[in-house]
Every structure is written in structure tokens, then in C-alpha cells.
């Protein structure tokens, strides 16, 4: 084989024969010499992670301790009493456990699926419409809700849903329909909360998919058009499959958070009404309410750890599944 090809094999750019790949397996130093420059690109990020993420991980003992204050943070951590899983028990033994798990996971699964469908559809729609100025305007406006804090969204929701709000006064009353007391009836809230989650978040996802579409090789479409494919066929057979890696990675990442929720949404929009808890209480709001009685950080730390561990297992599972669909898109 030629020198150039040999180099390319060594660089992993093309597959060589078995004999050639044996040479690559020479180990650590060989790898460093070959790709030192590339590995050096990891350094800034790695330093950041070591300082801001790994160093604080000493705090992973907090869920297992009853924190009492000593002279320094380190002695506080080490001298505090070890209580094993005690801090988890208020959560595990809770009479509401089933409800909050069901709500948390339920909302997340629906939102992940719905989010994917809506974001991709809207991104494609924006990409396709002929007037670029309109597309730009629509996109900008759709991004606006993202800037409002959930507290404000809570006020806005109230303006629509209250007994004197727009829905009751402006829609139901003129049609002679009986007024709905949204803030005392749990059954409407899954729809309300899902609506707001996407109202606020869609703009975000759309941008990612638009960028992905923009990065696609246009010659593929032109070739397909020459072969007689309609635009619809082009979208279905080229655009969407090309978006698969992005869809997969975003889903995997979302699944890692399947046991957590956007606290702001679930706490503020239902205005913390107790009677709605059947459908609005999630793990994060539950823990927040428990903290009201003690201000004990070990509690939230314990539940947070629980959420992370479960999320981790979910990701490993979904990652494995993703590997079966498209090995290139695996997270790790």
C-alpha cells in the first residue's frame, strides 16, 4: 500500500486490513504521539470539570449524613453523623410516593416524545416556507416565551384560568357554558402543564434542528429532485433520516433527566394549590415542600442523588437501544 494510504489507515480515516489495525493497538504512548494535539484540546474542558464538577463531588456524602456544623467545611462533612439511608426514607416511605413518581415520569415521557415531534415539525416547517423574512419573524416570536420566568407565566396563566379570567369570561360565558374552576379541579392540569412546557420550550429545540438542517448537504436534495422526487419525499427520505443522530442524542440526554422536573413550571403555574396535587405534584415540588419544615440540605441532596442514579440507569439503557438503531449516535 502507498505511504499516503498507510498514513490514512494509521489516522483511522479509512479502514485498513487486520494486519494494519494490529499496529494501531500499540497502546497509550503511541496514541499520544499520534494524536497529542487532539487530546490537548480536551484540557480546558477537563480542568473546568475537575474544578467545578469533580471537586464538589465530596458532597456526595451529604445525603448520608445528618449535618451539624464544625469549624470548617471539611470537618463539618467528616464529623457529621453518618445516618445511612435515613434521609431517603421520608421519600421512600411517603404515602405519596406512587403519585409523585407517576407524575414525574409520566410528564417527562410525554414531554420528551411530544417535544421531539413538535420541534422537528416546526423546524422543518420553518425551513420550508418560501418567504425567509416570515420565517425569521416567526422564529423570533416563537423564542420569546423562553425569556419569561415561570413566576410571570404563573401570573399569566392566572389571567387566563381564573374564575374571572379570559377563558371563563371570554369563551365559556358568551357560549353559555358553565364556568370551570381550574384552580380547584386537578383533571385539567396535565393538559395545562404540558401546554406550558412546550409553549415555553419549543423555540429552543427548534433552533437546534434548524441548525442541523442547515448543515445538511444540499446536493443530496438536488440529486433527488433530478431523480423526480417531490419535496415531500425529499423531506421524508432525506431530511428526517439525516436528522436522526441529533434526535437520538437529544433524546438520550433528555432521558437522563426523566426523574427530575422543571421545578419552576410545576411549582409556579399551579400557584402551589394543594388541591391540585394529584396531578401537579412531582418529585421536585414534593421535596421542596418537605424542606419547608426543616431547611435540611441533606434531604434535597438525598433525593437528588436518587434521581441521578435512576436517570443514569435509564440513559445506559436508552444508549444501548440507540446503538442498535444507529451506532454512530451512541452517547458512549
Amino acid at each position: 500500500m502507498s505511504k499516503a494510504t498507510g498514513e490514512m489507515v494509521a489516522n483511522g480515516l479509512i479502514q485498513g486490513t487486520k494486519a494494519e489495525s494490529k499496529q494501531r493497538k500499540k497502546g497509550f504512548f503511541f496514541e499520544m504521539r499520534r494524536h497529542g494535539a487532539l487530546y490537548s484540546m480536551f484540557i480546558p474542558g477537563a480542568i473546568f470539570l475537575l474544578i467545578f464538577a469533580y471537586l464538589p463531588m465530596v458532597g456526595l456524602v451529604i445525603p448520608f449524613k445528618y449535618i451539624t456544623y464544625s469549624n470548617s467545611f471539611w470537618s463539618t462533612l467528616f464529623d457529621s453523623e453518618w445516618v445511612g439511608f435515613y434521609n431517603f426514607e421520608f421519600f421512600w416511605d411517603s404515602p405519596d410516593l406512587y403519585r409523585i413518581m407517576r407524575n414525574t415520569i409520566g410528564y417527562n415521557v410525554i414531554n420528551i416524545v411530544l417535544g421531539l415531534v413538535i420541534a422537528v415539525s416546526v423546524a422543518i416547517a420553518l425551513n420550508e416556507i418560501r418567504n425567509r423574512k416570515s420565517a425569521k419573524t416567526y422564529q423570533t416570536i416563537m423564542f420569546m416565551p423562553y425569556f419569561l420566568s415561570w413566576v410571570i407565566v404563573g401570573y399569566l396563566a392566572y389571567a387566563f384560568l381564573s374564575p374571572n379570567g379570559f377563558i371563563n369570561m371570554g369563551i365559556l360565558k358568551p357560549f353559555g357554558i358553565e364556568e370551570i374552576s381550574f384552580y380547584t379541579d386537578p383533571k385539567y392540569w396535565p393538559f395545562i402543564l404540558i401546554f406550558f412546557a412546550h409553549w415555553k420550550g419549543t423555540g429552543y429545540g427548534v433552533i437546534i434542528y434548524l441548525a442541523a438542517i442547515a448543515g445538511q448537504d444540499q446536493s443530496l436534495y438536488e440529486a433527488a429532485a433530478i431523480d423526480g422526487a417531490s419535496r415531500g419525499q425529499q423531506i421524508r427520505k432525506i431530511m428526517i433520516p439525516l436528522l436522526k443522530p441529533m434526535m437520538i442524542i437529544l433524546t438520550i440526554l433528555a432521558v437522563g433527566g426523566i426523574f427530575s422536573s422543571d421545578f419552576g413550571l410545576f411549582y409556579n403555574v399551579p400557584l402551589n394549590q394543594g388541591v391540585l396535587k394529584e396531578t401537579t405534584d412531582v418529585i421536585n415540588t414534593y421535596v421542596y415542600n418537605a424542606l419547608m419544615s426543616s431547611g435540611d440540605i441533606s434531604l434535597s441532596a438525598a433525593v437528588g442523588l436518587f434521581q441521578s442514579v435512576l436517570g443514569f440507569f435509564m440513559v445506559v439503557g436508552v444508549n444501548w437501544i440507540a446503538g442498535k438503531i444507529d451506532p454512530e449516535s451512541k452517547l458512549f
Binding site: 484540546m41 467545578f52 416567526y138 410571570i152 439525516l242 437522563g256 437528588g304
Partner: protein, 297 residues
């Protein structure tokens, strides 16, 4: 042209998008309307799309009593956003690139090294310790920037983008020409990734603009407060006073001085202001066909 949708489809899609746009716009218009409503009218009639009694009082109040505070917060927010975004772009783009290279043996390790931190953390308190006592960041403007300049989510988005968009041939030919990795990165890979960079720039900029968490934890000096933290303080103070006033009766009188709803909405509009325009600003990098141009050139 065979790569566009038909006229009829165009109309349908436009209608579909307009409906969505209205859904997004209406509540914003509501905020705007409330911010221009007279307080008594707000109390008596509640929120309305057409101000019961038009009034610029909320804005006037903010301008008069707190103009310097707001301008200062704008300055801080803009600085944080610009510097933070640039730094983040560099950090993220750099880490993501080697991750996207299939030929790297220890790739998986670094992927996992990053991903682990996205799921597991020691918690807010040890992080606070690192920021304040190890790095000495309390009450410094860098406190609002440095803890956020690296983000795993963006790294993975970037990695996926590199993988699916950068053709092997480009890298190949560069290698044949004898180019080093850094040169390839800065001169080839990045220009080809402009849509992704623009995307991450938007998200990061918005993240920094909207952030109230870092100021909440690390900033005490009101002169260093950014816009979002300003409004966060106002909102949470009112809530807290309401909550605690049963136990600490003296507090309730402080509510008298609290900003009314109109003022809070005006604050929200002011906070939202400029950043909404970031998408139009960066939108030109989303233009299709960039890839082709680079390769052919």
C-alpha cells in the same frame, strides 16, 4: 425548482406557523399590556389585553426611582453575556471536536468523564465552597461568568454536528496537505460548523442573559446585580414577606413599598428586551449551502 414545496403547501404551512406564533405572542402582549396599566385599574379589573386605564406609571416609576440601578444591571448583563458566550463557545467547540473523531482511542473515556458530571453532582453547597473559598469568586463579576463557561449539553450537540456534517474527505485532504490538528480545527472545521456555533451562541447568550442563579448564590453587592437577578429579588421578596408575615408581624408593612403588578411586568419587559433580537442577529449563519461552498472552494 424541485427542492421547494408547492405554493399550496406553503400557504398551509404558513397558517400552521401563524397559529403557533399567535399562541406564543398573546401572553407576551398581555405582559406588555399590564405593564402599561394603571394600578387601581389592575386591582379592580385584573389583567386585560387592553389596559383598563392606560398608564406609563410603571415604567416611569422604574426610570425615576431606579434608573441608575437598571442601567447598571444592563451593563453587567451585557458584559456577562458577551464575555461568557465567547468563552463558552471556545471551550465547548474545542472539547467537542476530538470527541467527534472516530480515530481517537480514549474517546469514550472523555465522553464519560463529561457525561458523568451532567448526571451526578456533589450538590449546591460543595460547589459553593469551591467557588467562594477555593476560587475566591464571591462578589466578583467573574462569579457570574466562569462557573458557566462549560456545558455538557452543548458539547454533545456540537459533537453530533461535527460528526454528521464534516465530511471525511475534507479532513483527509487537509491531512494530506500536512496540516496540523489545530490548524484543521480553526481553519476548516469551525467555518464549516457555523450553524452549530451560531446555535450554541444563541443558547449560551440567552443562558447568561437569563441567569439569576449565579448572582443569587455568589453576589451580594447590589451594584453587581444583573437584570434577571434584580427581578428575581423583587418577586421572591414579595412572596417571602407574604409567607413570613404570619410569624413575623412586623414584616407585613414592608409590602406597602413593594412594586405593584404593573411595575413587575414592566420589569419583565425591560429584562426581556434586547436578547429577543439575538436570533435575527445570528440568523444569517443558518444559511443553507455553507458546507458546499467550503468544499468546492
Amino acid at each position: 425548482m424541485g427542492t421547494s414545496i408547492s405554493r399550496t403547501t406553503n400557504v398551509i404551512v404558513n397558517v400552521f406557523l401563524i397559529v403557533l406564533v399567535l399562541l406564543c405572542l398573546l401572553p407576551i402582549v398581555l405582559v406588555l399590556s399590564v405593564s402599561f396599566t394603571d394600578e387601581t385599574s389592575l386591582l379592580n379589573q385584573g389583567y386585560s389585553f387592553f389596559p383598563g386605564k392606560f398608564s406609563i406609571e410603571p415604567y416611569r416609576f422604574l426610570m425615576e426611582t431606579n434608573l441608575s440601578g437598571i442601567l447598571n444591571a444592563y451593563k453587567i448583563t451585557i458584559f456577562n453575556t458577551v464575555v461568557g458566550t465567547l468563552l463558552t463557545l471556545l471551550m465547548v467547540a474545542l472539547y467537542a471536536y476530538p470527541l467527534s473523531r472516530r480515530d481517537l482511542k480514549y474517546n469514550n473515556f472523555f465522553t464519560f468523564f463529561l457525561y458523568f458530571t451532567m448526571l451526578f453532582g456533589g450538590g449546591m453547597v460543595p460547589w459553593y465552597l469551591v467557588c467562594t473559598q477555593v476560587l475566591g469568586l464571591k462578589d466578583s463579576i467573574w462569579a457570574m461568568i466562569l462557573p458557566s463557561i462549560f456545558n455538557g449539553f452543548f458539547v454533545f450537540v456540537m459533537r453530533t454536528f461535527y460528526k454528521s456534517t464534516i465530511p471525511i474527505e475534507v479532513l483527509e485532504s487537509a491531512k494530506i496537505d500536512g496540516a496540523g490538528e489545530y490548524r484543521i480545527f480553526f481553519q476548516l472545521v469551525l467555518p464549516l460548523s457555523l450553524p452549530a456555533i451560531a446555535t450554541i451562541a444563541i443558547f449560551t447568550a440567552v443562558g447568561f442573559w437569563n441567569d439569576y442563579w449565579l448572582p443569587l448564590m455568589l453576589i451580594n453587592d447590589p451594584k453587581l446585580s444583573n437584570l434577571q437577578y434584580m427581578i428575581y429579588r423583587i418577586m421572591t421578596n414579595i412572596q417571602a414577606i407574604r409567607e413570613y408575615s404570619q410569624d413575623a408581624s412586623g414584616i407585613a408593612t414592608s409590602l406597602a413599598n413593594a412594586p405593584s403588578e404593573g411595575i413587575r411586568m414592566a420589569m419583565a419587559m425591560i429584562t426581556m428586551g434586547p436578547i429577543v433580537l439575538i436570533y435575527p442577529f445570528l440568523q444569517k449563519y443558518f444559511v443553507k449551502g455553507l458546507t458546499i461552498g467550503a468544499i468546492k472552494g
